[in-house]
Assembly symmetry: C2
């Protein structure tokens, strides 16, 4: 007795340890404006960037499974640390396609760099995994990977235009530049290997020599999601946004305080977040 003239929209699960992945969701919304999005921030266990491979993989697999249980047709790991340390584990556990942000980030660097020498700024865990170095090498790029453990706390403190943050950036970039010179690299591209870092883009542009391109993987990841979805499941015009309107429904889930998620998350998403559901992943 039910008539279904409108098929279900494609469901996209987006996962991060916290809020940074909302910069990826922000890029996804205009790409696939009629999709239904499920965003999970594992805020009770953040940050991932200082933790071990085994722990990050366990956390990330649980989160991906939760998104699949909500009916996600496609999962985006919008967290560099989880993409670097746990992509294989998540793909092994999931029954739907899973995309990380490392590969798409390296691809965009390959498209942008003339010197073929790239600087990757990332968390300690991402750097230790050397996932970016491998992904860059696969595109014929040489890379310096620089861990910047203070940037996430500075951004979450809201010091995104502070002299302290400028000085911390100066120190990290100076160390990276020294390493690049010692290795004979001529950096012309900086890849932001943490979804928090786009909030420091203006400060970074100031701190870097002219002519350096700054890339983050949010945009390239969003484009790839759209391309892959088109290949695996033909999308309707509305889902692909050809009419230019955005009717995306977003559901937000967090493992810690939903109030904090609303407040901090809106800064990353660039629009207000109203309802957030508290989830228990058993941690």
């Amino acid at each position: 007795m039910t008539t279904s003239t409108t098929p279900d929209p494609v469901r996209i699960g987006v996962f991060d340890s916290g809020f940074g992945g909302l910069t990826v969701l922000r890029a996804l919304l205009p790409q696939i404006p009629a999709a239904e999005f499920f965003y999970l921030g594992d805020t009770a266990r953040l940050p991932y960037g200082s933790k071990s491979q085994a722990t990050v993989a366990r956390y990330a697999v649980e989160s991906a499974q939760l998104l699949e249980s909500y009916g996600a047709d496609y999962i985006v790991i919008a967290c560099n640390t989880a993409s670097a340390l746990a992509l294989d584990a998540i793909r092994a556990a999931a029954h739907v396609p899973v995309l990380g942000v490392i590969e798409t980030g390296a691809e965009s660097a390959a498209a942008a760099s003339a010197t073929r020498d790239v600087l990757v700024l990332a968390t300690q865990a991402t750097v230790d995994s050397h996932a970016y170095a491998r992904a860059c090498a696969a595109h014929g790029l040489r890379s310096i990977e620089k861990a910047c453990p203070l940037l996430v706390p500075l951004i979450e403190e809201g010091w995104i235009d502070s002299p302290v943050t400028r000085e911390v950036l100066r120190i990290y970039l100076e160390q990276a530049q020294a390493e690049a010179q010692a290795a004979g690299l001529a950096l012309d591209t900086v890849l932001l290997g943490c979804t928090h870092y786009p909030l420091l883009r203006a400060l970074l542009q100031e701190a870097l020599p002219k002519g350096i391109t700054i890339l983050d993987s949010a945009e390239s990841t969003a484009q790839r999601v759209r391309q892959e979805l088109e290949q695996t499941k033909p999308l309707r015009a509305a889902e692909l946004g050809e009419n230019g309107t955005s009717s995306a429904v977003c559901h937000f889930f967090a493992t810690d305080s939903v109030d904090k998620f609303r407040a901090l998350g809106s800064r990353f998403l660039g629009r207000p977040i109203e309802k957030v559901e508290l989830i228990d992943l058993g941690g």
Copy 2:
């Protein structure tokens, strides 16, 4: 057929979200040198200082229960955030005495302050709980509670003698001083309300006006543990350290990388940590 001429040593469980609580264990060792210590760092879920009351209470209760399962006769919550947010929950769940660091810290401030006006530096979650303000008020002290979210990351980055850390401290202290002046307080005592902060004691002394006393609760907590144990269970001379030797056996447990625990933990404990056991708290 068994003869037991030497009774079991008293077993003391010490718990923190990470490494900072090792400064409390460090103070306990000479106080009760023949005790057997069980130290648990919930490193897979740190930091607690930015998380909600419900999440911190859940984590801390699980950790206390684990220590009790190892036979702890007494549990020390060597973490200001867990003491501030979860002491009642832990006491309700535990079957042995439980001591936090807030009350002992406030006591030492009450003994030291002439003006009766105290500055408490702590994590965001500890400040939001106002546990120190209540504990200080119970001793007739007025207090300013200042959240310092960047200090733990700076200490864990190892920047304990960096101009950046000096500048961050200057900003935090200037904000606190402005708040104290507006409230008409004459601060003469600074209470370190986070077990990481003792590593910044030298920098703090430099940044503060002369004549300000800096206190941390490690020493006063260790003394209180000894006093309470003497009241509830008469200790033998060796356990009380009257012979001046330290034969304490320490067992270390962590929920994330044991290698990182050994490396970072030794800095807080002030002596090498050899064996650390990986524990799964289900998180």
